[in-house]
Symmetry: C2
Subunit: 168 residues, 2 copies
């Protein structure tokens, strides 16, 4: 990145992931999640449901991955920006609470909605509270997942129908 | 659930998770994600960054968990509602593409925004396309993560300051 002390240029960068998820028939889903930019790296993940929901409890449920992604994304930005902003932090803990509600009519498929998300942050820092708040503010803006949750997203779906893909 | 053939009552249910995330100083974050309702179950998760970003590559990055949560949540609802709606599905695959953009000015902490999310669904089903589309529609509405992404969420942050928690 080219910059001078007096004028810093703004540059944009793309971060892209792909995830291929396969479900053979029960509740377990096996996945390969691949970062495709800026680096290329693949990871194996799996989810399952508990026995009560017809699964085998062989892996965390999808919402556990979501909760972990949200909490760790903020933690990671707090750590990275602590260094960049020179606001020291000790062991960082984030305690997240996530709440959804489902609505079930008879045997119809249920519908769902988010109720609330709360994140309690302990920076274990001796820095002035104002600096700690500034660090959190920077981390929120740099947290890909928080910025996603903060707005309405359109998710595009397609269904494979023979050799065609049709909008779903 | 009490219901009759002629009139089905709507009941609501809460789904809650907690996640405690700890970062000791490098980029790795260790977590315990706990479903607290309707069941109680805990899972260990971890994230890390690659070496290029100052991590050790010991675990997937936060966005891989997010991608996996999104894809598997939809897959799980497709499977569950396939049974409930009696729309048969074979091996289900969801191929997800997730795109974010970051903006970096000089050495300032970068800011981020979502660009787009695409999910390609293959139900490997002989059911009429209209039925398959109906199944996808039900799964979208029942997918906690899709319903979260589809709206603007307020995320509440608090910072520990001594023995107090202050709004961040």
């Amino acid at each position: 990145m080219t910059q001078t002390a007096t004028q810093a240029e703004t540059k944009s960068f793309d971060v892209t992931f792909e995830c291929l998820a396969t479900n053979a028939g029960k509740m377990r889903t096996d996945m390969t999640a691949t970062m495709t930019a800026p680096d290329q790296q693949s990871f194996s993940l799996a989810t399952d449901e508990g026995r009560f929901h017809g699964g085998d409890g062989s892996a965390p449920p999808p919402l556990a991955l979501f909760a972990g992604g949200l909490a760790s994304c903020l933690v990671t930005q707090l750590r990275a920006f602590s260094k960049r902003l020179r606001i020291p932090a000790g062991e960082i803990t984030v305690s997240a609470r996530l709440h959804w509600r489902g609505h079930q009519t008879g045997r119809d498929p249920y519908t769902t909605e988010p109720v609330g998300f709360e994140l309690d942050i302990d920076l274990n820092s001796d820095a002035p509270v104002a600096d700690q708040l500034a660090l959190i503010e920077a981390a929120k803006k740099g947290c890909f997942i928080e910025q996603t949750l903060a707005r309405e997203n359109h998710i595009a779906h397609r269904l494979r129908a023979g050799s065609d893909w049709i909008t779903a």
